[in-house]
C-alpha cells in the first residue's frame, strides 16, 4: 500500500505531519475540496434557498436539492424525498423518536435497543419509553461484541414496536447484523431505526438492502462540515408522521389557527436550511466515491491490523471487541493496566497524538464491560503506517512516564 501521502495533500491540517490524528470515530478531518465547495456556495450562490424567485435563490435551491439527490443515491434511497437534512445523527434519531415514537408507541409496548448504543440512540428511546409507559429492552453482545441470533430472537417479540440499533458500535467497532435483525423485527411487526454514524464513513450503505425503515447519519464523521446530517425514512412512514419542528419553510397554508404542511421532505425541515454544509456533504460524498470504499476498507483494515498486532505485543494492554482486526471498522478501544485512560491521553498529547479517552457517550456499555472509562484509537483511510509506528512507539512509553519503571 502507498503511504497515503496522496490523500494527505488534500488535508491542510494533516499535511505538516506534526500530529497523529487517531480520533476519527469522533470526527474526521475535511479535505480542501469540501471546504472549497462550502466557500464557493457562499461566495457565488448565496441566497435563502427554496423561496426565492431570483437567480441566486434558485441557484442556492438547486445546489441544496442536488446535495439531497446525491445523499439519497449514496445510501441507496429510492428517492430524494426520503432524505431529510438534519444537524447530525442525534437530531435525526430525535426526529424519529418525537414524530414517530411518541405517536406510535403505547403503554405496555416494548422498544428494543442494544447496550452498546451511543447515547444518541439511547436517550431518545428512554424518553419515549418513559413518556408512553413502554419498556426499554436491551440486547447484550457476546464477548467479541456481536449480537447473536439467539439474543435478538429472544428479545424482539410481538410487543416490540421499535428496534433501534447501531450499524457499527463506536466502542467495539463491530458491525451488527442489521439486515438479519431488521428482517426478524419486521416479522414481529416492529419498525427499525438504524444509527449509521459509524458505518456510513467506512462502508457502502444500501438502506433498501438493509431493509431498515429509518437510517440516521452525520456528515462530520465522513469529511463534511459539522452541523449537517441526514435521516432516511421510508416514504409511507414519513408521510404519516407529524412534523418534528414547525415554522418557516415547512408549510403550505397558514391561517390564524391552522396550518397545512409542505410535502416531503420539506415538512421536516423547518426554518432556513443549512444549504452551505449540505453542499459540503455533497462534495464529501464525491471525495469518498472517488477514493472508493474498496480502497477505504483495504487501507483501514491494513492499519487496524498493524495497530492491533503492535498493541498485542504490549502485555499490559487489553483490547475490547473481536480479535479480528477486520471486524473493527478502524476502531480500537483498549485499556492499559495501572494507567487511567485520561492520563494516557494526556501523556500521548504531549507527543502530539490525538486519541479519545472516556466513556465514548456509551456509559451503559462501559458498565457492561466493567470499565469506568477506556481509551480509543480510530483510523481513517488517510492515516499512514508511519503514524501507526509513531503511536505504538509512544504508547509503549506511557507506563514509564506514569512511574512503572522502564
Amino acid at each position: 500500500m502507498n503511504n497515503g501521502a496522496d490523500y494527505r495533500q488534500d488535508f491542510d491540517i494533516l499535511k505538516s505531519g506534526e500530529y497523529v490524528y487517531f480520533d476519527n470515530a469522533a470526527t474526521s478531518q475535511r479535505p480542501r475540496q469540501v471546504l472549497e465547495a462550502v466557500s464557493d456556495f457562499y461566495r457565488t450562490a448565496n441566497a435563502n434557498p427554496l423561496r426565492g424567485l431570483y437567480d441566486w435563490s434558485m441557484a442556492a435551491t438547486e445546489a441544496y436539492e442536488n446535495a439531497r439527490k446525491k445523499t439519497a443515491a449514496f445510501i441507496g434511497a429510492l428517492s430524494a424525498e426520503e432524505i431529510i437534512f438534519t444537524r447530525n445523527t442525534t437530531e435525526s434519531i430525535n426526529l424519529v423518536a418525537y414524530s414517530y415514537g411518541l405517536n406510535n408507541v403505547e403503554e405496555g409496548d416494548e422498544i428494543v435497543i442494544t447496550v452498546m448504543e451511543h447515547h444518541s440512540n439511547m436517550l431518545p428511546w428512554q424518553m419515549v419509553a418513559k413518556k408512553k409507559g413502554a419498556s426499554l429492552i436491551y440486547l447484550e453482545p457476546a464477548e467479541d461484541g456481536t449480537i447473536t441470533k439467539e439474543e435478538y430472537v429472544s428479545k424482539i417479540t410481538k410487543k416490540t414496536k421499535i428496534v433501534a440499533i447501531g450499524h457499527v458500535s463506536n466502542v467495539f467497532g463491530v458491525t451488527n447484523p442489521v439486515k438479519e435483525i431488521t428482517a426478524y423485527a419486521h416479522e414481529m411487526g416492529a419498525v427499525v431505526v438504524v444509527d449509521g454514524a459509524q458505518s456510513t464513513p467506512h462502508m457502502a450503505v444500501d438502506v433498501r438492502k438493509l431493509g431498515c425503515d429509518f437510517f440516521a447519519f452525520s456528515g462530520h464523521k465522513m469529511l463534511s462540515p459539522m452541523g449537517i446530517g441526514a435521516l432516511y425514512g421510508r416514504r409511507e412512514l414519513l408521510e404519516n408522521m407529524e412534523p418534528f419542528l414547525t415554522g418557516g419553510e415547512m408549510i403550505e397554508y397558514v391561517t390564524r389557527t391552522e396550518a397545512t404542511y409542505a410535502e416531503l421532505p420539506h415538512k421536516f425541515e423547518a426554518g432556513t436550511v443549512n444549504a452551505g454544509d449540505a453542499v459540503g456533504l455533497s462534495a464529501a460524498i464525491d471525495y469518498i466515491t472517488n477514493v472508493g470504499f474498496d480502497e477505504i476498507i483495504r487501507r483501514e483494515e491494513h492499519l487496524t491490523t498493524l495497530l492491533m498486532e503492535g498493541m498485542n505485543k504490549l502485555p499490559y494492554i487489553k483490547i475490547f471487541g473481536s480479535e479480528d482486526p477486520k471486524k473493527h471498522c478502524g476502531i480500537v478501544t483498549f485499556i492499559m493496566d495501572g494507567v487511567h485512560p485520561h492520563d494516557m491521553a494526556s501523556v500521548l498529547n504531549d507527543d502530539n497524538i490525538c486519541i479519545r479517552a472516556g466513556h465514548h457517550c456509551a456509559q451503559p456499555l462501559m458498565q457492561f464491560i466493567g470499565a469506568g472509562s477506556t481509551a480509543r484509537a480510530s483510523v481513517y483511510f488517510y492515516n499512514t503506517e508511519r503514524e501507526v509506528e509513531i503511536f505504538l512507539d509512544r504508547l509503549s512509553k506511557v507506563r514509564e512516564v506514569m512511574g512503572y519503571g522502564a
Binding site: 487511567h340 485520561h342 501523556v347 512511574g403
Partner: protein, 152 residues
C-alpha cells in the same frame, strides 16, 4: 512544566505511593466526590477537633491527577482550621482556573501548586479540583457530610 515532567516529578509519587489513601478512625465528616464524565470517584474523610482538622484520609479510584491532587491536599489541610482550609481551596481552584497566578499567593499551597499547569488542560481541571471541591463542600455544608458524625 511539560506534562510528562509533572507526572514524573510530582503526580506519580502521590498516585502510586499515597500517604493518605486510607480509612481514618472515627471521622467527623465523610463525603463522596465523583466526576461522572471520567469516573474519578473519591470518598474523603476528615476528623475535626475544635474547628481544627486533625486527621484526613480518602479512598476511591480515578486518574493519577485526581488521586495525587487529593493526596497532596490532605497533606496541606491537616493541622489547619476550617476557615484556612476553605480559603486554601479557593486559592487552589483560582490557580487551576488561571485566575490566581501570584507566586506568593500560590506558595501557601506548597506542593499542590505544582498542578498549576493543569490550568492549560481544560479537560483535566475537574480531575485536579475533585478533592478540593469535595473538602470545601463538606466544610461549608457539614449537613451533607454529617451522617457519620451522628452514627459515631
Amino acid at each position: 512544566m511539560e506534562l510528562k515532567q509533572l507526572y514524573r516529578e510530582i503526580v506519580n509519587e502521590h498516585n502510586l505511593h499515597p500517604v493518605h489513601k486510607k480509612k481514618i478512625e472515627n471521622p467527623d465528616l465523610v463525603l463522596r466526590g465523583v466526576n461522572p464524565s471520567c469516573g474519578d470517584d473519591i470518598t474523603l474523610s476528615l476528623k475535626l477537633e475544635n474547628g481544627i482538622i486533625t486527621d484526613g484520609g480518602y479512598e476511591g479510584s480515578g486518574c493519577a491527577i485526581s488521586q495525587a491532587s487529593v493526596d497532596m491536599m490532605v497533606d496541606q489541610i491537616v493541622g489547619k482550621n476550617k476557615e484556612e482550609a476553605i480559603r486554601l481551596a479557593g486559592t487552589f481552584m483560582g490557580m487551576i482556573k488561571g485566575e490566581i497566578t501570584d507566586e506568593e499567593c500560590l506558595e501557601e499551597l506548597d506542593e499542590a501548586a505544582a498542578l498549576q499547569d493543569v490550568a492549560h488542560m481544560p479537560a483535566r481541571v475537574k480531575c485536579a479540583v475533585l478533592g478540593w471541591h469535595t473538602m470545601q463542600e463538606m466544610l461549608e455544608h457539614p449537613e451533607k457530610a454529617g451522617e457519620i458524625r451522628q452514627q459515631n
